[in-house]
Amino acid sequence: MTQPILAIQNLSAGVEGRQILKGINLVIRPGEVHAVMGPNGSGKSTLASILAGRDGYNITGGEVIYCGKDLLELDPEERAREGLFLAFQYPVEIPGVNSTYFLKAAYNEIRRHRGQPELDAMEFLTFVKERMKILNVPEDFLKRPVNHGFSGGEKKRNEIFQMAVLEPKLAILDETDSGLDIDALKIVALGVNKLKRPDNAQLVITHYQRLLNFIVPDFVHVLYDGRIVRSGGKELALELEEKGYELIVHRAAVPA
């Protein structure tokens, strides 16, 4: 069997003494799309934040192996250079910093990390325009400051666009569907599908089933109160939609 891209083992973590994740187990292999679903407060975004390396969480147990490396030992920028990408639930505005400049800096950091030569401004522009075409991203995205003055939908599209440029091994989409109307949702999902490859993987975190009408996951996991209480195929998402979290969680809680 191929080496997993991500292997989470019994991960427990919290904030200020409050336990949020209570023993997560999850293995993601190349070519797979996983969806993590769960109600508000179940620990979905905490999981995404910890994987990306955001400060402020206490890891109290377990380990995370990313492409054979101890992920929790790496700084956030090292994780990014190793090909881990987080599409933010709330993309951050950076006024005054031109998007092209920002993306070029990010892209070249990753290339440098891989021992590849950096692209100059012209080479990068050629490359980035080709990526824009794939996703149908308007050209003015490149000219505007990073996320500054973008609408909610534009910000989410910009995340997917950055993902297309940086070509991650593992993309974590943290509630990318929240706050999007159905058209924007389709655009985002289409982008994600186009970027899927046999050698990369995606972890889609969502509250609603509707995103999964457009992104078809190989596996669905239900996160509840800091634990994955059920895992299954894509049909689990439909079941969730039908019966709601309470019923599924309740059934899961009953010992077999």
Binding site: G53, D55, P76, A80, P95, G96, V97, F102, A106, E109
Partner: protein
């Protein structure tokens, strides 16, 4: 560029790379200030009687003044009797000579600073005058400028060679009685630069002065006077550095600019005096009076400053808009890191009709830095249709620093239009994390954000210096995220 666990608040040590001293034999006046010291300075410089009288008058006025208390800066009282007012490299005290006679150690110093004085070494088409402690050590490109009739020389030389021009314009924009530091400077100034651009001449190259304080316990009091005659144009840049010393050193310069009809002066400063160490020990007190007068119609004076150095900066480069349709501009980036303090801004005084002024001020505070913008826009009765636009932005890095804005607006003509915009923003942890998640280190992220923030000002600088300013800002911010 790998970085370990970072929080914005963690400050690490940064190096000031210009902090070396040069061992060189000097000649100096005894410390302290009295009429004898002023006579000595004047005699050393072989000045005419009128200039000595001018100095003495300024000194006598200064003794009646008190240092201004209103700036939002804190420092122990300065003992003016402790300062040495005249220091010169020994073989230079008779005034500037040709570059071949300059002590090679001095030239080496300027080489280290990246200022080649030897014309054969020149890389940029920039004419340079270099002031070392109190004396000008040489002006490059004199010949080429001379062919166009442009005078660019040390102030001392101008007093000897062009006394009529000096006498006509000296103190005409900043009178010796203007303020405490201007009075002090008028009494004891030792050198500086002098520029005269004749009618209709577009100065063929950038002019630049490089100031260096070397000796201990010295003050540097330079005097710069730039006159752009009718229809002429000149762009001028000054740079400054000093060795790292534990004591504070005083720098009190006066700069006067004059534009006649249809003339333009663009004055750019990259100020990198030693800022003191990370605990606030040492550093230069930069108490400077800079002012331009648009005397002629359709004339223009533009100030651009990038202030990253000095323990304390106190300066308000202003423009007196006398000529109708004249234009004043002020573009500023002021950075305070560690324990640096800056109280800086501008004064735009509208006298003439249809006069216009633009103010763009970008303050950056990091560490325990305190940064104040203080500006005055004054529209007088006769200034019909005067217009001003001011934009004052503050950027905070971390939560131990401060930013303050003191805009003063006085309008006496109803047809005037004055606009003021201000903003305060902070480089947040979330922005840094976002950049890090995109593979960019925290320090690079801060530099990127700060450079983006300063873009408007940097684009006013001559190209080569804009690049230098960006680098300088990056160095000055080193350690603002740990």
């Amino acid at each position: 560029m790998s970085t370990s666990t970072e929080t914005i608040e963690k400050l690490v040590k940064q190096e000031y790379k210009y902090g070396f001293t040069t061992e060189i034999e000097t000649e100096s006046a005894p410390p302290g200030l009295n009429e004898d010291v002023i006579r000595l300075i004047s005699r050393k410089k072989k000045e005419p009687e009128w200039l000595l009288e001018w100095r003495l008058k300024a000194y006598r006025h200064w003794t009646t003044l008190q240092a201004p208390q209103w700036p939002k800066v804190h420092y122990p009282e300065i003992d003016y009797q402790d300062i040495t007012y005249f220091v010169a490299p020994k073989n230079m005290s008779d005034g500037p000579k040709s570059l071949d006679e300059v002590d090679p150690k001095l030239l080496e110093t300027y080489e280290k600073l990246g200022i080649p004085l030897h014309e054969r070494n020149r890389l940029l088409g920039v004419a340079v005058d270099a002031v070392f402690d109190s004396v000008s050590v040489g002006t490059t490109f004199k010949k080429q400028l001379g062919e166009k009739g442009v005078i660019f020389c040390s102030f001392s030389e101008a007093v000897q060679e062009h006394p009529a021009l000096v006498r006509k314009y000296l103190g005409s924009v900043v009178p010796p009685t203007d303020n405490f530091y201007a009075a002090l400077n008028s009494a004891v100034f030792t050198d500086g630069s002098f520029v005269y651009v004749p009618k209709g001449v577009r100065c063929p190259m950038e002019l630049s002065t490089y100031f260096r304080i070397n000796a201990e316990n010295t003050g540097q009091f330079e005097r710069t006077l730039i006159i752009a005659d009718e229809g002429s144009h000149v762009s001028y840049l000054e740079g400054c550095t000093a060795p790292m010393r534990d004591e504070n050193q005083l720098h009190a310069a006066v700069v006067e600019l004059i534009t006649l009809d249809n003339a333009e002066i663009k004055y750019s400063t990259v100020q990198n005096w030693y800022p003191g160490d990370e605990n606030g020990k040492g550093g230069i007190y930069n108490f400077v009076t800079k002012r331009g007068a648009c005397r002629g119609v359709n004339s223009k004076i533009s100030w651009t400053q990038v202030e990253t150095g000095s323990a304390i900066t106190w300066k308000y480069p202003g423009v007196i808009l006398q000529g109708d349709n004249s234009i004043g501009e002020f573009y500023s980036v002021a950075l305070t890191n560690n324990y640096q303090q800056a109280d800086t801004g501008t004064k735009m005084i509208h006298f003439g009709k249809n006069t216009r002024s633009t103010i763009v001020s970008k303050g950056i505070s990091a560490g325990h830095g305190q940064n104040s913008y203080r500006g005055l826009v004054k529209v007088l009765k006769g200034a019909a249709n005067a217009r001003n636009f001011s934009q004052c932005d503050s950027l905070l890095i971390g939560d131990q620093c401060g930013a303050h804005t003191f805009p003063y607006i006085e309008v006496k003509n109803t047809s005037a239009r004055v606009e003021h915009e201000a903003s305060t923003s902070k480089i947040g942890e979330d922005q840094i994390f976002y950049c890090k998640q995109r593979a960019i280190s925290a320090q690079d992220a801060v530099n990127m954000i700060v450079n983006g923030y300063c873009k408007e000002v940097f684009k006013q600088l001559p190209m080569e210096f804009a690049v230098e300013a960006q680098k300088l800002l990056a160095v000055s911010l080193e350690g603002s995220v740990g």
